[in-house]
């Protein structure tokens, strides 16, 4: 048993949301409540006792647990409360989950990003449950006049064995709420877990399959208007003027005006990313009316100038330069041709790679590229805002509520205390909703209208607004001696506008002579974090290169990686290697075993890959079949080491999603530009993976260990791109270097 210090105060939950927006058919807490079983609805307690900011207990023993972090489909709304319930030692069937609003006085890091929710909540959420359990024990000890140390708990029951006294949590809740918060509380041993490590269904499941309102786009309030924006058609352009002579008089239209998301003297924050600061706004009664007026609105655009802006990156000021001009994908291709030839910035160098390359018997050199990608969350950007001179209430999908509260406070000139933010379940995040300019826009629009407003982006607005996955390039070189031994390794990456290099990741540490270099090129196309930033390209490129290298060295691709990892484990080169070679090898060995890698089936073409990012390890084997001359993904094996798995079936679901997503983006998706204008603005031109293209089967295996859990939202996404490329090569004899593979070279064998 380990003991942890408590960091919560009993009174810290007091900040209450003032969001009482009535709304059609919506009650005050519609966002908050999750699926309740019919028994729970019947048994709703008469009174709730707040034990701490994370949980309250009803007099009948039902427990409400707050889920602090934004839910984007990664299932934290189920898995985070599971951690609390485990240490509270209650029955999961007695738990009701509520989505917590932004409340910095109770919760830390209410953010969805970096696959960190579970990792960072692991101790704090368990502590919250354990604290409540300790206070219930105190209450029972006082009531029964026995020593607290003699009281045990089980499944929501307090038990004093010696006297035979027993009570549910409910009757003790009122007294427990008044107990001193203990300074330290014990946490369970892993072997005593009853909830963690068992599969629990999505707490919103029934609501989702019956179409109940859950998402930002579903939110409504009395007197609410609909707003849409018109942003410049191309990067490098800005709004000059609007002519609303036709649109203003159209049915349902209330007002047409221009807004600036950020005021001119505002120092941008890290997530204030916004390509188009000034936009036209149309506000009306219904979505269709606003959409029609949007088509009728005449706008004039002009070229925007070079910009230099200060960006406040969590306390340190950076100057960001945005060049003028209208960029095309052809220009980007030229950059990819030319920049790798120039000297890059050397980020890591071990040994004497230049010398080894100069005396190599053979050099293998390959280049890989990927295009810009739009996040394309299924639910487009949107936000509800009700801003008066007194208060601001905001409801909607946002991954960074705390950071956005600061931006909005500055924009409205309103104290943070007067701003309430409620997070809806999100129709996907993938990093896109870290950047909440649409939330600020909604607030500014509501203030202008003096009325509640829901801002909606059309799919076209959403896809052409920016905040994309950058376009990347990677050049890999390997030097072999006359005996085909790997003697030096060189990686040089770059991108528009950032480089995807991870200089201290594998195979750094496994090769004596190693060099990592990078370069970048500015652009006015805005970019942002996209599921597994940078890894989402570099993993696939690296793993495809290692495949080619193994082939040149006449080695089995898995054994080749294992040899390198063994070297990195036993005698690592350099000190800054940021991966654990034995855990890395562990997932490769597991996937090798589960996929029966050494077995052969002439009709199945296999590719493998492995990667470490966001603190977790993933290895894949991908089986392709050729059907009527076309490659079909028959089966994917996925081995993962993410420490303790909290909710296994949900974790498998997330891993399956990562695999499908990775194959989809590597194969089909791209956002290209002509004169600053995105050439795709909806799913008729922007291709996302569909049912028939998904793997026919996915098998997920976890390494069993007792390591504190790490992330899972991102790690299964990057490596599969490499496994796909490697299997395609086996099936067709063609190596694919440029994503998306579908437009790179013909796929048929």
């Amino acid at each position: 048993m380990k003991t942890v210090k408590t960091t919560i105060g009993r009174r810290s939950f007091i900040k209450r949301s003032t969001l009482v927006g009535g709304g059609i058919m919506l009650s005050f807490n519609w966002l908050a409540s999750c699926d309740m079983t019919p028994q729970q609805v019947k048994a709703l307690p008469k009174e709730w006792f707040k034990i701490n900011g994370f949980l309250k207990i009803g007099e009948n023993g039902l427990v409400t647990i707050m889920s602090p972090n934004p839910e984007i489909g990664q299932n934290v709304k189920t898995s985070m409360p599971m951690l609390v319930a485990e240490e509270l030692d209650t029955d999961w069937n007695d738990v009701i989950v509520e989505q917590a609003p932004l409340n910095t006085s109770v919760f830390t890091r209410q953010l969805a990003g970096g696959s960190q929710s579970i990792r960072q909540g692991w101790n704090s959420l368990r502590m919250a449950g354990a604290t409540a359990r300790a206070m219930l024990i105190q209450a029972a000890a006082k009531t029964w006049n026995v020593d607290a140390s003699e009281i045990t708990t089980s499944q929501g029951q307090l038990i004093h064995e010696a006297s035979g006294k027993k009570s549910g949590y409910g009757p003790m809740a009122s007294l427990a709420a008044q107990m001193e918060v203990p300074k330290e509380v014990p946490l369970k041993d892993i072997s005593d877990f009853k909830i963690i490590g068992t599969s629990r269904k999505n707490v919103d499941g029934t609501k989702i399959v019956t179409g109940q309102p859950l998402y930002g786009l579903d939110y409504s309030a009395d007197n609410m208007l609909i707003a849409m924006i018109v942003h410049p058609p191309a990067f490098g352009m800005q709004l000059k003027s609007i002519d609303d002579s036709q649109a203003a008089g159209m049915p349902g239209i209330k007002k047409i005006f221009k807004i600036k998301t950020h005021l001119d003297n505002y120092s941008l924050g890290a997530f204030d990313n916004d390509a188009f600061n000034e936009v036209a706004v149309i506000v009306g009664a219904t979505t269709w009316e606003v959409m029609n007026a949007k088509k009728a609105l005449k706008t004039e655009w002009e070229l925007s100038p070079n910009k230099k802006e200060d960006l406040d990156f969590f306390g340190s000021t950076m100057t960001v330069e945005t060049p003028a001009g209208l960029e095309s994908s052809n220009d980007h291709r030229k950059i990819f041709d030319e920049m790798p030839k120039k000297k890059g910035k050397i980020v890591r160098k071990d040994g004497d790679p230049e010398k080894m390359f100069s005396k190599a018997a053979k050099i293998i050199e390959r280049s890989y590229t990927c295009p810009f990608l739009a996040h394309n969350t299924m639910e487009p950007m949107n936000f509800f805002a009700d801003v008066t001179s007194e208060r601001a209430n905001l409801v909607g999908p946002i991954q960074t509520p705390e950071i956005m509260e600061g931006s909005i406070s500055k924009r409205l000139g309103m104290d943070k205390e007067k701003i309430d933010i409620q997070m809806t379940r999100m129709g996907g995040g993938f990093g896109r909703r870290l950047y909440g300019h649409f939330m600020t826009e909604a607030a500014v629009i509501s203030k202008e209208m003096g009325q509640p407003v829901k801002l909606i982006y059309s799919r076209e607005d959403d896809m052409t607004q920016g905040t994309y996955r950058p376009a990347y390039h990677a050049l890999y070189r390997a030097a072999l001696d006359e005996n085909n031994n790997l003697i030096a390794f060189h990686v040089k990456t770059g991108g528009i506008p950032e480089s995807p290099l991870a200089a201290n990741r594998f195979p750094a540490g496994a090769v004596d002579h190693y060099m990592a270099e990078e370069w970048t090129e500015k652009s006015n196309i805005t970019v942002g974090a996209f599921r597994a930033p940078r890894s989402n390209f570099i993993a696939g490129a690296e793993q495809a290169f290692l495949d080619e290298l193994a082939e040149a060295m006449d080695k089995d691709p898995i054994d080749f990686r294992l040899e390198l990892l063994e070297r990195a484990e036993k005698d690592p080169v350099g000190e800054r290697n940021d991966y654990d070679a034995s855990r890395y090898a562990g997932v490769l060995k597991l996937v090798k075993e589960k996929s029966n890698w050494t077995g052969t089936n002439p009709e199945v073409y296999r590719g493998t890959a492995a990667y470490f990012c966001h603190n977790s390890y993933v290895a894949n084997v991908l089986d392709l079949e050729m059907r009527n001359g076309n490659p079909v993904v028959k089966k994917v094996y996925c081995a993962i080491d993410c420490g303790i798995v909290v909710n296994p079936d949900a974790a498998i679901n997330l891993a399956e999603g990562g695999v499908v997503d990775g194959i989809g983006h590597a194969m089909y998706s791209a956002l290209t530009f002509k004169d600053g204008k995105p050439e795709q603005n909806n799913f008729d031109q922007y291709r996302l993976i569909r049912h028939s293209e998904a793997p026919k089967e996915i098998e997920v295996h976890f390494v069993e260990n007792q390591i504190d859990p790490t992330g899972l939202g991102e790690p299964p996404f990057p490596p599969i791109m490499g496994a796909m490329a490697n299997a395609l090569y086996k099936a067709t004899g063609v190596r694919h270097y440029n994503q998306p593979f579908i437009t790179d070279k013909p796929l048929a064998g």
Binding site: W288, N653, L688, R690, P695, K696
Partner: protein, 151 residues
């Protein structure tokens, strides 16, 4: 603006809307039935799928003026208690991730099974290909359709 009488989930609703308004927005903005989702507005994603006389259609492409007395069913009306075999199978397989596409997936799947109670894998894929799931729950959707098909 014009007056329409719509049969939605077995109830007649009076709606006053522009005749070109897609049923998607009539449902969401006029009737507050927000289970039917907006994803693309151009019949490419399937998020807005509803049943028109039992057939799966994209409500973003269906003007209110074209519906007449035909019967519309939305996710809210698929079953009274959320216990349609497809809904039950979705829960059994814990299909949703973000969940946003799932109403459309369920409406497409239930129309498929109505017309073809025992679809092959290929038939499932072709019937469901118009429904995008950005989270990648395709393998679970297929498994859930098979479970529903067997029940």
């Amino acid at each position: 603006m014009a007056q329409f009488q719509l049969n939605v989930n077995g109830e007649i609703h009076e709606v006053n809307a522009d005749p070109t308004t897609p049923i998607l927005w009539v449902l969401r903005d006029h009737l507050n039935l927000v289970g039917t989702k907006y994803g693309c507005g151009i019949a490419q994603c399937g998020a807005c799928t509803v049943h028109l006389n039992g057939i799966a259609v994209r409500s973003c492409q269906l003007p209110v003026s074209s519906v007449g007395t035909n019967k519309l069913t939305t996710i809210e009306g698929l079953s009274e208690k959320g216990d349609h075999p497809v809904q039950k199978a979705w829960i059994a397989h814990d299909v949703p991730q973000c969940g946003y596409c799932q109403a459309g997936q369920i409406m497409s799947a239930s129309a498929l099974l109505e017309a073809n109670p025992n679809p092959t894998d290929e038939e499932i894929e072709s019937a469901m290909n118009g429904n995008i799931c950005r989270c990648g729950t395709y393998t679970r959707i297929k498994a859930a359709i098979k479970t529903a098909s067997n029940s």
